[in-house]
């Protein structure tokens, strides 16, 4: 494949947990990570939108990532975090079970999603990263928040 250069082929990921699975999003899309805070429910919104929070004076929507990915729900714990991401000028929070680390992974170790998952939320996955004996599911955030082409993918 392509020649190996450090900066060109490595991506830095914020790794977090949903249930027992490990997920990753590009660190460039992450603005900050917040502890659990009061979330105000917003009526007449899809299920996966938990509500809105106050982030230093601005009101941001928070989505329940597990609900969006059709994973079984779980109570919030001390490890529950809200990852604030920014995509196409939209800033929002994602509710995750825990944030574990930031790591770099080589592009060559990322497999395209088609070869791994065929089932449900395949639209939401942009790839699977292999790291030693761990598997990191890389998310396609554009599709998840619905700024991609197909909003009602589930």
């Amino acid at each position: 494949m392509a020649e190996k250069t450090y900066s060109g082929n490595e991506v830095q990921l914020v790794v977090f947990k949903l249930g027992r699975e490990e997920y990753g999003v590009s660190i460039l899309q992450v603005q900050e990570i917040k502890r659990m805070t009061d979330i105000t429910r917003v009526p007449h919104t899809p299920d996966y939108i938990t509500g809105v929070i106050n982030l230093r004076g601005s009101v941001l929507p928070v989505i329940d990532l597990k609900n969006r990915l059709n994973l079984p729900p779980q109570d919030h714990t001390d490890n529950t975090r809200i990852i604030i991401i920014k995509i196409d000028e939209i800033v929002l929070g994602m509710l995750v079970d825990a944030v574990s680390e930031v790591l770099a992974i080589d592009q060559t170790n990322i497999e395209s999603p088609d070869s791994v998952v065929g089932g449900i939320a395949a639209n939401f996955i942009s790839g699977v990263g292999k790291l030693d004996n761990r598997l990191l599911i890389l998310l396609n955030l554009e599709m998840i928040i619905g700024v991609g082409q197909d909003t009602k993918a589930v």
Partner: protein, 674 residues
């Protein structure tokens, strides 16, 4: 001495004093004997003189000095404040305003103040002259091509394109010049590429030009077509289309005269401009302000607001710690801190808001001048000038309002004898009203003039091919009147033909809509017309009632609340399955907020006593059932953002004192979807 660093201060203060002069002169006109008003005028004039002399603006100083001479005579009672003298002084103030703005924009126009000074000297001697023609400064400017631009034109020629130099003159007195110039430019852009404009597009946007500007267009279209395109935009007076050969001897010759003057003054102007723009950057084109003030970049206010928010959140955390660890000292300190942060928060929020009076206060003068020019008598009544609007909106709303007011005076209010014949008060009345209505600020311009004849409007629109006969037949009077907002409807001839408005209403509509607002018109023949501008309250602060439904807190704008009452379950009756209550003989439909918003209910303790918030939207009323009333509070409206945009019944969100988000109910939508 390097005076540049004081430029911002000079401009700011000059504008303030000029505004004071304007309002005091109006007062003096009504009460020519008032010494205290005269003193105030004299003080302001004197300050301007001193400042401008220090800054080296001799023209301003000279004119103010002459003006002061006349004022001095008035003060010493050696001269009576006749209308003629006041007019002259008004004219001086206008000229001074123009001079100051020229300084601000780094404009190199030189105003000839000689005629005015002569006039001042004449009135000082008690002579009365009639000289109404205000001198117009000849507008010359041209496009100086850079090498790259010249080469672009050259290479374009090979591809069959041609460069046109288009000189566009807007009608004098045209309002919303920037909107007009924008329309011209976007129309031209459809024909080809715009290489350059003089002045620059940025300056055009900021209205830093008189009534003409030039555009260098690269297009495959014919000159005639270009000409036609420009002229098709209303309020364009003249358009000259010249073929621009680059680099052509001809062209350079025409531009030479100008480039000479430009070059000479470029040096000094460039310096001034640097400072002026710095002072202006934050304030765009706010013309006149009253009261002492500091100009602050709005971005700084935004970050200040956010920081205070963060402070509040951290304070609540400290509170929690104090309570869990039972630290009495800490709790006490936090209580004090609580008070300070609450105050701080409300102050910071208020800083962004400015009373709409800041825009309104220049209107009395304008109405006076215009009604006088047109030989009409008009009484301007201003209401609700304390209504607060976000700074950004305030800056933009002035021009459309001027436009509407001018229309009302020009086309709405009849001449005194006409009014008397109709049995009206010979003095016309224009009302300018601002108020909060639900989640909007409403600004109304209302006159008791002759109204708009919908049939005439219809015919005109038919003639112009803006609507079809079938459409015209279907329209009722109100729809027909709204045709005035159509682009292309407004041209000079319409104004003379039709008994109604039409000058640039499309520009007004564009502007309002760009602010996210709406404008509507109601009219009754011979009774008057009413233009209603509805502006959204983005970022505005409103009074709201906080209510609780189960565990959730919602805010209801106080503007749409009639009253709150408590009823028992027996008081609720049903009419065809619609729950209603009877309030003072009126049947009011009931909205159960918990159902409407699918609030998760904890336990099912149905209360005996229910709280009902009676709201209204226009003529309609409804009662909203909530679990509890928390209290009235000032809230800042925040948008829910793109992702959650378009949720019915929720108008926005606000952040409560404890950092929690509460949603604001859209009462109108709530009632509609009942």
């Amino acid at each position: 001495m390097d005076t540049n660093q004081y430029m911002g201060m000079f401009l700011e203060e000059s504008r303030e004093h000029l505004q004071t002069l304007n309002s005091c002169l109006l007062e003096l006109e009504n009460d020519p004997e008032s010494l205290s008003v005269l003193d105030e005028i004299f003080r302001s004039a004197h300050t301007i003189k001193g400042m401008s002399a220090t800054m080296g603006f001799t023209t301003i100083a000279e004119l103010t000095h002459e003006m002061e001479n006349v004022l001095d005579l008035l003060r010493k009672n050696q001269l009576k404040a006749t209308p003629d003298i006041i007019d002259t002084v008004f004219k001086c103030v206008d000229t001074l305003e123009q001079l100051v703005e020229n300084v601000a924009s780094g404009n190199d126009l030189v105003l000839d103040i000689k005629p005015l000074i002569d006039k001042l000297n004449l009135v000082a001697k008690g002579e009365v002259t009639i000289q109404t023609n205000s001198e117009t400064t000849p507008q010359v400017s041209s496009i100086v091509l850079s090498d790259t631009e010249a080469s672009i034109i050259k290479s374009a020629k090979d591809t069959g394109m041609q460069a046109f130099e288009i000189k566009v003159s807007l009608r004098e007195g045209c309002l919303l010049k920037s909107a007009r110039s924008y329309m011209v430019i976007s129309a031209l852009e459809e024909l080809g590429d715009i290489i350059k404009t003089v002045p620059s597009t940025e300056d055009l946007e900021k209205e830093k030009f008189a009534f003409s500007f030039e555009v260098l267009l690269l297009t495959a279209a014919e000159a005639a077509k270009v000409h036609q395109t420009v002229l098709s935009i209303s309020e364009v007076d003249k358009a000259e289309v010249l073929v621009c050969e680059a680099p052509s001897v001809n062209y350079i010759e025409t531009s030479k005269v100008i480039s000479d003057t430009v070059n000479i003054e470029n040096n000094s102007v460039a310096k001034v401009e640097k400072n002026a723009t710095a002072a202006q950057a934050s304030s765009a084109d706010k013309k006149i302000k009253s009261g002492q003030s500091v100009r602050v970049d709005i971005d700084k206010l935004d970050s200040l607001l956010n920081l205070v928010g963060e402070l509040v959140i951290n304070k609540t955390r400290l509170e929690q710690i104090g309570i869990t660890h039972r630290l009495a000292d800490l709790v006490e300190t936090i209580e004090q801190m609580d008070r300070v942060t609450t105050d701080l928060q409300s102050v910071v929020m208020k800083v962004r808001m400015v009373p709409v009076g800041q825009v309104f206060n220049r209107f009395p003068r304008m109405v006076r001048d215009l009604s006088r020019d047109l030989n009409k008598e008009v009484n301007l009544i201003i209401q609700g000038e304390e209504t607060e609007l976000d700074r950004t909106v305030i800056d933009e709303i002035g021009d459309p309002l001027v436009h509407l007011l001018r229309n009302s005076i020009d086309h709405g209010i009849e001449k005194p004898n006409e009014r008397q014949a109709k049995g009206k008060n010979p003095i016309g009345e224009i009302r300018l009203i601002a108020r909060h209505e639900g989640n909007n600020v409403i600004i109304i311009v209302e006159d008791d003039g002759k109204g708009i004849n919908s049939d005439v409007i219809k015919n005109k629109a038919l003639q112009k091919g803006l609507i079809t006969q079938a459409e015209a037949d279907k329209m009722d009077a109100n729809d027909a009147v709204r045709l005035v907002f159509l682009p292309g409807f407004s041209t000079a001839e319409v104004v003379t033909d039709v008994s109604g408005r039409g000058v640039g209403m499309d520009a007004v509509k564009n502007k309002i809509e760009s602010l996210g607002g709406m404008v509507d018109v109601e009219t009754k023949l011979n009774e008057g017309s009413k233009f209603k501008i509805r502006l959204p309250l983005t970022l505005a602060i409103i009074q709201a009632l906080l209510v609780k439904v189960s565990q959730e807190i919602y805010a209801i704008p106080l503007g749409s609340i009639d009253s709150t009452i408590s009823v028992t379950t027996e008081d609720i009756k049903t009419i065809q399955n619609q729950e209603v209550i009877l309030l003072r003989g009126q049947i009011i439909p009931i909205i159960r907020l918990a159902n409407k918003l699918n609030v998760p209910q904890k336990g099912n303790d149905s209360q005996e006593e229910l709280f009902v918030v009676v709201v209204h939207m226009g003529e309609h009323r409804a009662g909203i059932i909530v679990d509890n009333l928390i209290g009235q509070q000032e809230i800042v409206i925040k948008s829910l953002g793109k992702l959650l945009a378009g949720i019915k019944v929720i108008a926005g969100a606000t952040i409560l004192g404890n950092g929690q988000v509460a949603l604001i109910l859209d009462v109108g939508a709530l009632m509609q979807y009942n």
